[in-house]
């Protein structure tokens, strides 16, 4: 009687607590639904697109006007200058400023896209990281169970006087090591879970059920290095900005050149010369720098892929070693201790395999994103 009251009271406490404080719920994510949430939490994509569309309209009008302005006559402009050439110049500068403004919106948009891509990439990494932490924990638990069962057997054998104190001690040490490894994996898993929950704005103690997917390494979006590079140099949005600025400065110089007699204009012209020289140099520097970035990122991606391949081969070696160790252990050709060590080497190789694959994924995808943003997308908007 007493007992049932107690259990009823407990149920009551549980009901109260689950309604009062956040109880550990379980949320399920597939990689797709998760990434959608990551994007939605960080960006209002529709708003960005709407803003951009408005700003780009004017920008495109200005761009078109730039190509036709040379055919216009001075009557088309009502300005403070009394000669037609200066009026045309002044109008040109006005247009450049207009284009520059529009270009700034475009640049902001591209940079936002870049940020978004990075967030998505980080999000993906987070997803996989959590999955791997879970897999790693499962492995370590399996390893621990194996070690424990071997240890329990040895304890019995020791009691029966079949093995020495020292031999038992070495099994005990392996058992302890395995226990620690399992604890570490468990901590890493909890941490990964917390990070994941923070990322998706779920309460910290939420249990997460992730759809188990394998990382598929992306293909390199480069077939012809030279061709990709020249497209990149032609379309880079940063280079476009600098080129536009140079055009504007040159037009300004032409206009001010007509009034070089005035002392104020003389200083302004001197400053303009310096700016033109500096911008020209910046363009050259940026071309070289883009070339540098492109090659370096490409090498880094290749290198990350190699590291993954290497980890994969190391895993294959450990896999075959473990297979042989298992057979040998079953036939009493090696000690249980050697077998456990084999298992642990395999676990560690598996973990390196996961992390190097994730790292390769991030690097290759980062490289592909760099290529995409700096060439195709911008090109489309500028033409």
């Amino acid at each position: 009687m007493k007992k049932s009251i107690l259990s009823l009271a407990l149920v009551g406490v549980m009901i109260i607590s689950s309604s009062a404080i956040a109880y550990a719920d379980t949320v399920s994510y597939s990689k797709y639904s998760y990434l959608e949430k990551v994007q939605a939490d960080n960006f209002d994509l529709n708003q960005i697109n709407d803003d951009l569309e408005d700003e780009l309209k004017e920008y495109k009008v200005a761009l078109r006007a730039r190509t036709t302005i040379k055919e216009m006559t001075w009557d088309d402009f009502n300005d403070n200058y009394d000669d037609s050439a200066s009026r045309l110049n002044a109008a040109q500068i006005k247009l450049y400023n207009h284009i520059k403004e529009g270009k700034e919106y475009l640049d902001t948009y591209i940079e936002q896209q870049q940020t978004l891509q990075n967030i998505v990439l980080e999000g993906e990494a987070n997803y996989f990281n959590y999955l791997f932490a879970k897999r790693n924990l499962d492995n370590k638990v399996d390893s621990f169970n194996l070690t424990k069962s071997k240890y329990d057997t040895k304890v019995l054998e020791h009691e029966l006087g079949k093995i020495s104190d020292i031999e038992l001690l070495s099994y005990e040490k392996t058992y302890n090591d395995s226990f620690v490894a399992q604890l570490e994996a468990s901590n890493a898993f909890e941490q990964a879970k917390n990070e994941f929950n923070q990322y998706v704005s779920e309460p910290i103690n939420t249990e997460v059920d992730l759809q188990d997917v394998d990382i598929v390494l992306p293909e390199f979006q480069v077939e012809d290095l030279d061709a990709t590079l020249s497209t990149l140099l032609e379309n880079s949005y940063q280079l476009q900005t600098l080129k536009l600025e140079l055009e504007r400065l040159q037009a300004d110089r032409t206009l001010k050149g007509r009034y070089a007699g005035f002392s104020d204009t003389k200083i302004e012209l001197e400053e303009l010369e310096i700016s033109i020289e500096e911008t020209t140099q910046q363009i050259e520097d940026m071309k070289l720098d883009l070339d540098y970035q492109f090659r370096t990122k490409y090498n880094n991606a290749l290198s990350a892929y190699n590291s993954f391949r290497s980890a994969e081969l190391a895993l294959e070696i450990e896999q075959s070693n473990l297979k042989i160790a298992r057979i040998k252990n079953e036939n009493n050709m090696i000690s249980a201790l050697d077998y456990i060590e084999s298992q642990q080497s395999y676990d560690s190789a598996l973990n390196s395999y996961y992390s190097s694959k994730l790292s390769a994924y991030k690097t290759i995808k980062g490289f592909n994103n760099f290529i995409t943003l700096n060439s195709t997308a911008v090109n489309m908007d500028l033409k």
């Binding site: 140099q281 720098d289 540098y292 880094n300 290749l302 190699n306 070696i317 075959s320 070693n321």
Partner: protein, 458 residues
């Protein structure tokens, strides 16, 4: 087995990739001196400093103009003060009637006088115009300087002099700061390129040794294949060795990528097209360092550290200002009570700034001392490790030689000899790595002494 086949085919593809990455269009021989020169020409940091020169020269020009204006105000003040003294003491002086009048009243008088001057000018009365002009000049000066606010003539004069001296002092500081900024940017560029050059040379050597090691692995694998075919080695052992060699190859390839990336960075610094292949022509031969650290090294490191040099310049400027203030302080003592506390506060503030700068300099000195000692200790440690590795290498070499004899006598197999070769190559590699690490430490130390680059252990 299927996986194993894939590994083999990848090995082939990998080797092909590897050889294509080594083909480049043009080759440029690049000594360390060339690299320093080119990077200085190309450096955006240096350019951004020199581009400021125009603006700085303008500021200096404006300051000098201000200084002239101060001097000419001083002259007109001097003219004014003697007239003022006459006019205020002598009631029959024609300007006496203006002394003590309000600004509103004086402004009205100025308007009247301006009208009168206009009429006189239209009638061609030159001397009258000049007279009215001098009266108007006095009234304007009186409105500006007043009755000297209780200051003596000398005090007012000294204030001018003090301001002018401080202005000249700050012009000198602007110039010094510009010069130092240029030196700092140049030093930074030079230090960066030296560091990179050392790292590149280091990687070049490392890559060479790594490739040699890979060759030994590949020959060993070919030997093992024969043994495997003869049934002397198990399938599992052989397959794992194929994987191990493939891993070594990937490692070598990655080292090549790292080398290429450093090389790209060098080209980017020097403004050399990326497709150019660099031939690093400078070899480093470092002398050994004494076991005692000479104290002159600390002094050398101070003068190379731009933060330290900048702090010293700031200190010199503030001390000079303080000197100027003190020189004129006696006169302030005679000035009115309302102004005196302000001058004293200025002096106290100036002293505080100086003390603060001195503290900063002492702290910087301590930091530099620590850095120099750390870098030096690192260097000595690596030198000792070099000796140790040389012994290990000798041992591995002796074992290899005896192994070659043993093989001839049939005491060991080819596979055993391959193992000894590998051991020798590994010993060679670690000796080489440490030697290169020592060279880097030497460069680190020299960069610290000559460029003030912060020491970081690698």
């Amino acid at each position: 087995m299927k996986r194993f086949k894939t590994a083999l085919s990848l090995l082939l593809v990998g080797t092909m990739l590897f050889s294509t990455s080594a083909t480049f269009a043009a080759t440029k021989s690049l000594s360390l001196e060339d690299a320093i020169l080119l990077s200085k020409e190309h450096s955006a940091d240096i350019r951004s400093v020199t581009n400021q020169e125009f603006g700085i020269q303008n500021t200096i020009r404006k300051n000098i103009q201000n200084s002239y204006q101060l001097a000419s105000s001083l002259e007109s003040y001097y003219d004014y003060i003697s007239i003022y003294e006459d006019a205020s003491e002598n009631s029959s002086h024609p300007l006496h009637k203006y002394i003590g009048r309000s600004n509103e009243s004086l402004t009205a008088t100025l308007t009247t006088l301006a009208n009168q001057m206009g009429i006189a000018a239209s009638m061609g009365l030159t001397s009258t115009v000049e007279n009215i002009q001098s009266v108007m000049g006095f009234i304007q000066a009186y409105m500006m300087f007043g009755d000297t606010a209780g200051l003596t003539k000398e005090t007012k004069y000294n204030t001018f002099k003090k301001n002018e001296a401080m202005l000249q002092n700050s012009i000198a500081l602007i110039q010094t700061k510009y010069d130092q900024g240029l030196i700092a940017a140049t030093k930074q560029t030079e230090a960066g390129v030296i560091k990179l050059y050392v790292a590149l040379k280091d990687l070049e050597q490392g890559l060479k040794v790594q490739k040699e090691l890979l060759e030994v692995y590949e020959i060993g694998l070919a030997n093992m294949k024969t043994s495997y075919e003869q049934g002397l080695v198990s399938q599992n052992t052989y397959e794992n060795q194929v994987r191990t060699v493939e891993m070594k190859r990937l490692e070598t390839e990655n080292l090549q990528y790292t080398f290429d990336n450093y090389s790209y960075q060098m080209k980017n610094l020097c403004g050399v097209p990326m497709a150019t292949s660099l031939n690093l022509s400078t070899d480093f031969n470092h002398e050994d360092y004494a076991l005692e650290l000479p104290s002159t090294y600390y002094e050398r490191a101070y003068s190379s550290n731009m933060t330290y040099v900048n702090l010293q310049a700031e200190l010199a400027y503030n001390e000079k200002n303080f000197e100027v203030m003190n020189k004129y302080l006696d006169d302030y003592d005679r000035s009115s009570d309302s102004i005196k506390p302000i001058y004293y506060q200025e002096k106290v503030d100036q002293q505080e700034t100086i003390d603060d700068l001195k503290d900063q300099i002492e702290n910087k000195k301590l930091l530099i001392n620590t850095n120099v000692t750390l870098a030096y200790n690192d260097l000595i440690y690596k030198a000792k490790l070099n000796d140790h590795n040389a012994t290990a290498l000798k041992l591995a070499e002796a074992q290899l030689n005896s192994g070659i004899q043993s093989l001839k006598l049939g005491q060991i197999t080819q596979l055993d000899l391959d193992q000894l070769k590998l051991k020798y190559e590994s010993a060679l590699m670690s000796a080489d790595q440490n030697k290169r690490s020592y060279d880097k430490s030497v460069e680190n130390f020299q960069l610290l002494l000559d460029y003030g680059v912060t020491y970081s252990a690698e």
